[in-house]
Symmetry: C2
Subunit: 118 residues, 2 copies
DNA sequence: TCCTTAGTTCAAAAGTTATTGAACAATTGG
DNA sequence: CCAATTGTTCAATAACTTTTGAACTAAGGA
């Protein structure tokens, strides 16, 4: 039950940029960056869209190589592929996150304390 | 006869990322970056698409605030808005250009020596 | 004035992306 | 086993994007 992810060297710049060019996905990435190290499941992002819609956006991010999704019980633990992105496109993620942090118009994401059940 | 451009503070991160997430436009930006300081008209990019199609992509880049187009006679001289982008999103353009330079799959752009007539 | 060159605009067609609800699968807890 | 929770898949729809050709504008040169 592992999900498909591109290898680091398969990550494509136009695809990553295109995927980040959506406000919902940018907000997801921003939130992931602000919680690096903390395991996050999909439900943490429910402020940003419906369950189905998030499933769609999170799949896009994963398929582009921006995030990694690990299956833990009924949860998918989502992480930023920071090391891989930094290796492939040095400085890109940092500048995007810094810029997104400035952005007045980015939706906020709320806490939704949730118990992870493995 | 000046064309509409967003102010620096109106440049939006998701829009810029979305606009750069197209291989043709990324190739345009890459070429502009490689020729910074040199005045380029639209015809220089004809290897990347038809005249109509370039008109479309160059308008997208301009409307997003990535490029500036100055009318000089029958030509539009295209430049990267490097200073504005650096001010708004520090490091972003550099990392994108560096990453695009690596990219095996980016179309090449040819010289087309052309006389600018004002 | 007439021709050429540079580039835009328009409308149509084709393709892609985002959003939705209903139905589904898998795991965990009681 | 049963119910609840987590998240996916599917099909439909709506909305946007890309590409094209034909017609156009505007300026410059002969």
């Amino acid at each position: 039950m592992t999900l498909p992810h591109p290898n680091t060297d398969q990550i494509s710049l136009p695809i990553v940029l295109g995927v980040l060019g959506d406000p919902t996905r940018l907000a997801i990435v921003r939130y992931l960056a602000s919680k690096e190290g903390v395991p996050l499941n999909c439900s943490q992002f429910l402020d940003l869209g419906s369950k189905t819609n998030l499933s769609y956006h999170l799949a896009k991010l994963r398929e582009a190589g921006v995030t990694r999704a690990e299956v833990v019980g009924t949860n998918r633990m989502i992480t930023l592929r920071r090391a891989d992105l930094d290796a492939r496109f040095p400085g890109l993620l940092d500048s995007v996150i810094a810029a997104a942090g400035d952005d007045r118009a980015l939706p906020a994401v709320g806490g939704h304390d949730i118990e992870i059940r493995a």
